[in-house]
């Protein structure tokens, strides 16, 4: 049967690629980045009042970012078609997260069908110095889930991404659950073929 999970050799190659591109990416001051995102979240919390709406809004904003970010990703990384979802997840973790956020991410906890996994973020620059107010059900970094969903949508994968563990909420690590829902059929391609 076909090898479904990433061999460590391919994963290491992805990690090296991520590191290479990260070196060449233009950088900005980390604290300014953190403060900017923090202001954004706090403003949303003040404007929307309902914290669930804030979580949704962050995800939506991320989705819009992801849809555009994927082009830059593909152009700079040179990554072409992934053979299966396991490779997709590995590329997101080792190449994309590395080149855009400078962080190392691990892929774990695959289900039997290899359609769902977890992304573990040990470091999250968005959340540096942040302390959530008590009793607030906020997923502070939810924008990341939207970015993943938006980016994958542009390569014909419909996914759900959501936080299951968050260091700001008291957990020891950040864990995003990534679930493949459907491969989106390319409608236009079908029409051209018929003609």
């Amino acid at each position: 049967s076909k090898q479904r999970s990433m061999s460590s050799a391919s994963s290491n190659a992805n990690a090296r690629l991520g590191e290479q591109i990260w070196q060449k990416m233009p950088k900005m001051n980390a604290e300014f980045f953190t403060l900017t995102y923090g202001s954004l979240v706090v403003q949303l919390v003040k404007d929307l009042e309902d914290v669930q709406k804030v979580n949704e809004q962050l995800e939506k904003m991320g989705h819009s970012i992801g849809m555009r970010l994927v082009d830059e990703f593909l152009a700079k990384s040179g990554v072409t078609n992934c053979s299966d979802f396991a490779e997709t997840a590995d590329v997101i973790a080792k190449v994309a997260f590395k080149m855009f956020l400078g962080v190392a991410v691990d892929v774990t906890s695959w289900n039997a069908e290899k359609t769902a996994c977890s992304l573990l973020l040990y470091d999250n620059p968005l959340a540096d110095y942040v302390e959530l107010p008590v009793n607030v059900d906020l997923y502070y970094s939810n924008i990341l889930c939207g970015v993943i969903r938006g980016a994958l949508e542009m390569v014909q994968l419909r996914v759900e991404a959501y936080f299951v563990r968050d260091t700001l909420r008291g957990d020891d690590v950040n864990e995003i659950r990534l679930e493949l829902k459907e491969r989106i059929k390319d409608e236009m391609a079908e029409e051209y073929r018929r003609e």
Binding site: L35, V41, V42, Y129, V130, P133
Partner: protein, 140 residues
């Protein structure tokens, strides 16, 4: 009289309109009455004018001893954002208190980086409190 008790050092962080944070640092078993607690606050608040005077006279953030009451010294530190740190302490070691204030300032700046904390408002963060207690144990 309050001088019969060995009083605990006390840190007060004062904003533009109100105190923002208060911490007492236990240095060992001692009796502390309601009187001593209120007296300490009185001492620190009445020193504020002296702090303002001292702040005007220098560009330094560390203002050293700005006031005395019986055997207690009031040390002061003004941040770049004009927030005042006051330490009530029987000790006289100005260099040690300077180092103490530097670390308190670092903890305070980290707190300011928290987008959920508004500048010049009361400080409720338990992690800030824990950090301050740890700093006090090292220096006082």
């Amino acid at each position: 009289s309050p001088t019969n008790h060995r009083t605990m050092p006390m840190l007060l962080i004062v904003g533009s309109r109100e105190p923002l944070y208060e911490a007492e640092f236990s240095t060992g078993p001692q009796s502390k009455t309601e009187d001593t607690a209120h007296l300490n606050q009185f001492i620190l608040h009445s020193a504020m004018d002296m702090v303002d005077d001292a702040a005007q006279s220098t560009n330094n953030m560390y203002l050293r001893i700005v006031d005395r009451f019986n055997d207690q010294n009031v040390f002061a530190f003004v941040t770049a954002g004009n927030i005042r740190f006051l330490l009530l302490h029987e000790g006289r070691n100005e260099e040690q208190v300077k180092a103490f204030f530097q670390e308190v300032y670092e903890a305070y700046v980290k707190l300011l980086m928290n987008p959920f904390y508004s500048y010049d408002t009361p400080i409720c963060s338990t992690s800030f409190d824990q950090r301050i207690q740890a700093i006090a144990r090292r220096y006082l």
